[in-house]
Amino acid sequence: MSESLEGFKDSFSYGTRNDLSFKFLKKLSPELAGEAIRQILEAIGTTFDTGSVEELHELVIDWQAAAYAPAEGAARTYVYEDTPWTPLAKPLSDCRVGLITSSGHFVAGDDPEPFGLLDMTQAEAVERIQDFMKETPVLSAISRDADVAELRVRHGGYDIRSAVVDHNVAFPRDALVAAAKSGRIGSVADVLYSFPGATSQGRLRRKALPGWIEMIRSLDIDVLILVPV
């Protein structure tokens, strides 16, 4: 059976060719997706001569950004006219820095057990992405000093291959610890936090965030690094 270009490009987004690095193709029109694929293939050809993949990477990133950018005239969501602003009250070298990411990291033995399931695999999380999008997220606490071998990641909304190899691609604990060792910052918080960002945004705001904010405010953190993934 033949497949349309639309069917082909959509198959990368939780379809038969699921690849979360390229799920953005579904957001493009068939014409634009075809152009994106043409450009990417052309850039691949160029790498044979240049030996450099940087232009190829930038091309993919540019198309990803273009796919997620709202259409002109589309209704904008989560628009705020004012900007919360807190000046830094002391030098960064005296500051305690915290971290919260939506990368879906947690520590072995402290699985957030989505839907009551222990040891859900990444494949299962991808399969149940629609269920995750209706859920209230669970915030996982990760000791600053947790052994890297104990770190886990699971998130049905993005390609976690890189995060599995190196947690720092989305959970930059090591860089923060190094910044504290060098004196750039005063210290890193004892506990860092992560949750799977593929979740109900409404439940996140209404049910989860108020408690999280109260908890984080009690932690004597001067600067909080946020990393949405």
Binding site: S21, T83, V223, I225
Partner: protein, 94 residues
């Protein structure tokens, strides 16, 4: 006080929400801090984010992913003299 690190695909969210202290990294989805096993890149991204805490800009700060790393401002920061980008390779401010 918060500082956010966002991949380029999330730029529109930063704009919609008028988020202060936003660092945009030209990295793919899922790798906002950089590629795996590249501690120098991770350190540079975290440093750029930390610098926003003490030296804020008007509008988000953008960090491209190519070496040498370059930083560009979408809007000049008022009173900025030894700009953040001077810590990286020289670049042209748009």
């Amino acid at each position: 006080m918060t500082v956010g690190i966002y991949v380029a695909a999330f730029r529109f969210v930063v704009d919609n929400m008028s988020l202060p202290r936003a660092l945009i990294t030209k990295h793919p989805f899922g790798r906002p801090i950089g590629p795996a096993n590249h501690p120098q890149r991770h350190a540079a991204v975290v440093e750029a984010a930390l610098s926003l805490a003490s030296r804020p800009t008007l509008g988000p700060l953008s960090l491209r992913c190519r070496e040498p790393l370059r930083v560009s401002h979408w809007a000049h920061a008022a009173g900025l003299e030894d700009c953040l980008y001077a810590r990286f390779m020289p670049c042209a401010i748009p």
